[in-house]
């Protein structure tokens, strides 16, 4: 089957200048497990668009690097 990649406006925005490479706080608390580290940069990003906009990632981030937006379809 042919797969296509689709652009999506994702709810979780990571400010890479603030994200700490050795920290996994946001990744560990996400109930839906949608955040991962980019293996090349060590920065967290939202890999899967499956967000409950519940905010633990934003609240547990020690440097304030994360902003959660309401998903576009609900906004």
């Amino acid at each position: 089957m042919a797969l296509t990649s689709q652009r999506v406006d994702v709810p979780v925005i990571v400010d890479e200048s603030k994200c700490l490479e050795k920290c996994v706080a946001c990744i560990e608390v996400c109930p839906l497990d949608v955040l991962v580290k980019n293996p090349e940069t060590g920065k967290a990003y939202m890999k899967y668009d499956e967000c409950w906009f519940c905010l633990p990632c934003e609240q547990e981030c020690p440097t304030g690097a994360i902003t959660v937006q309401i998903p576009f379809l609900l906004r």
Binding site: M1, W52, F53, P71, L73, L74
Partner: protein, 567 residues
């Protein structure tokens, strides 16, 4: 792939409200036993109360109400179809749960004299107790789990319960990060996996924009079914009056004691009680479909200080992103009503009554298998009920398993389940789970959203049965996607149960939750009973009537009809 073998005395599947309490109580009852919580997320932030809770809704506090009064109110609110003995336990044990939570640092609201500051939200009686600082509830529970030396395995999702020789012997699952196949031997298992909150598709079209935490995909309903346990009241859907699009609570339970109320577009009341019942939902449905809709939660008549207080509670607990939702739309409680809508359907005993059948000992119909929380059948049980039934399950399970030995897993069962789980990984180019799930849940909306039409439900049922084949088209590229694929299996199982149970009960009951267009009246002569279902010996879904247990608290249901309409 790797296989992990684990062994424990008591396995708790799901580390939310009920699960953490079940594990703690099991260790208190039997400190030398081994207790393991299996959680597909991380117990610090998982389950329905991942972000905390702003209050408890079923608090029976001595001096304010009695378990008998509570049983009476829930019996009437649930149109008489209740096992009163089970409801009674929530009333009887709820206060000791509150006291224990307080000893762990959870704060409940008290008045100036130090008494619990209970609010009336139910039709009769005060059972709502605010927790304005309830945001750290889950962290406090996780700390107690650790303190009680409970073992925790995060990021492993159970997929099936193991049953051998007529009793539970463990569970199997999937490590959602490493992809390992996980086999856990246990002498008793409690399922605490929450609601089926991902059954209908939200009107926004966003798969995860649900009222319930979307991790709660009906896992326990499906696992209990495949283990041979009975389920009950599945046709009594969960449908909630929610903030339109945001799909979270508005939240009248918090705001109505301050003077807020649900109003139609003209600003008038059309219900005199904001407690969620099927009958109340029917009134909301009627108003939305009259010329007086839409409806909104009205607060703009309140003074600024009161609204500030409501905002502080609503934006700090349960769903803290609510504030930024309103902000993004330029809406303010001082000037705007909160537009509300009827949610898509789900299954949840915490709010309605559908669940895995349990008695007042939290026992399912399979020996050694317990259930608690939103997926166990005690109606309107909410968070206090989840704690109470977690406790009951934990204590009873330790008693049950004392003299039991582990049983070697059945190799054929493991091989078959392994093949089922990993099939999508064999075809990574298969149809993405998102599309398979979207279509399934859209069909749920098309054919099952009340009011219920028999012909539509028949078509829906055929489509859900045929969807077994469609699931075989799913492809997964990594363990995370595989987790979602397995959740779609659970959702399909729940959709089939919802259709069959709704077709079986040929009457209308629970207001909108089971409003049948072809049988618009309640029929106590034929249907004053539970509708239960289970997997029969040939693997088919069997439905049957189960009598309502004799009442322990007298209620005259002819005299006391639940009616909250303003006429």
């Amino acid at each position: 792939m790797n296989i992990q073998y684990l062994k424990t005395d008591f396995l708790v599947v799901g580390g939310g409200t009920a699960g953490t309490m079940a594990a703690i109580k099991a260790k208190q009852a039997s400190p030398e036993s081994d207790v393991l919580i299996l959680e597909k997320a991380n117990i610090r932030r998982s389950g329905a109360i991942a972000m905390g809770m702003d209050g408890v809704n079923t608090a029976v506090i001595p001096g304010n109400s009695t378990p008998e009064q509570y049983v009476r109110e829930i019996t009437i609110a649930n149109d008489g179809i209740v096992n009163q003995k089970a409801v009674y336990e929530t009333g009887r044990l709820g206060f000791s749960v509150i006291q224990e939570l307080e000893s762990w640092g959870v704060k409940f609201q008290k008045d100036h004299e130090g008494n619990y500051d209970l609010k009336q939200v139910h039709r009769v009686g005060k059972y709502v107790l605010p927790m304005p600082e309830g945001k750290d509830l889950k962290k406090i529970l996780a700390r107690q789990v650790k303190r009680h030396k409970v073992n925790v395995t995060n990021r492993v999702m159970a997929t099936r319960v193991m049953v051998q020789n007529g009793r539970v012997t463990g569970a199997v699952g999937l490590d959602v990060r490493s992809g390992d196949f996980v086999v856990i031997q246990a002498k008793a298992v409690v399922l605490c996996t929450g609601a089926c909150g991902r059954l209908g598709l939200p009107a926004s079209g966003y798969l995860y924009g649900t009222y319930e935490n979307p991790t709660n995909a009906g896992d326990g309903y499906a696992m209990a079914y495949h283990a041979g346990a009975e389920l009950t009241n599945i046709e009594c859907f969960q449908i909630n009056p929610l903030i339109k699009d945001y799909n979270g609570p508005a939240c009248a339970y918090v705001a109505s004691p301050f003077g807020a109320y649900t109003a139609n577009a003209e600003g008038h009341r059309f219900i005199n009680c904001d407690y969620w019942s099927g009958q109340m939902m029917l009134e909301v449905y009627k108003e939305l479909n009259s010329g007086k809709g839409p409806v909104h939660l009205k607060m703009y008549h309140l003074d600024d200080d009161t609204i500030n207080e409501i905002e502080t509670i609503l934006w700090d607990n349960e769903r803290p992103s609510r504030g930024r939702f309103h902000e993004g739309r330029g809406e303010n409680y001082r000037t705007h009503g909160v537009e509300m809508n009827i949610s898509e359907i789900g299954l949840c005993s915490g709010h309605s009554a559908s669940g895995v059948w349990v008695n007042e000992r939290a026992e399912t119909t399979v020996p050694g298998l317990y259930a608690a929380g939103d997926m166990a059948s005690v109606p309107h049980n909410y968070m206090i009920g989840a704690f109470v039934y977690g406790r009951i399950a934990g204590e009873n399970a330790m008693d049950y398993l004392r003299d039991l030995e582990h049983v070697e897993p059945d190799a054929d069962f493991l091989a078959a389940e392994q093949a089922r789980i990993y099939a999508p990984m064999e075809q990574p180019e298969g149809v993405p789970h998102t599309q398979i799930e979207y279509k399934l849940r859209r069909l749920v909306n098309d054919y099952l959203q009340p009011p219920k039409s028999p012909n539509k439900m028949d078509i829906g049922l055929q489509k859900f049965v045929a969807y077994e084949e469609t699931l075989n088209l799913m492809g997964a590229r990594d363990p995370h996607e595989l987790m979602r694929c397995m959740e779609v299996h659970f959702i399909r199982d729940c959709a089939e149960m919802a259709a069959r149970a709704s077709l079986y009960r040929k009457e209308t009951r629970w207001g909108l939750y089971h409003y049948r267009l072809d049988y618009p009246e309640k029929n106590n002569e034929e249907w004053f009973c539970h509708v239960n279902l289970k997997k029969d010996g040939a693997g088919h879904m069997e439905l049957f009537k189960r009598p309502v247990e004799p009442y322990i608290v007298d209620v005259d249901l002819i005299e006391e009809v639940y009616d909250v309409a303003v006429r």
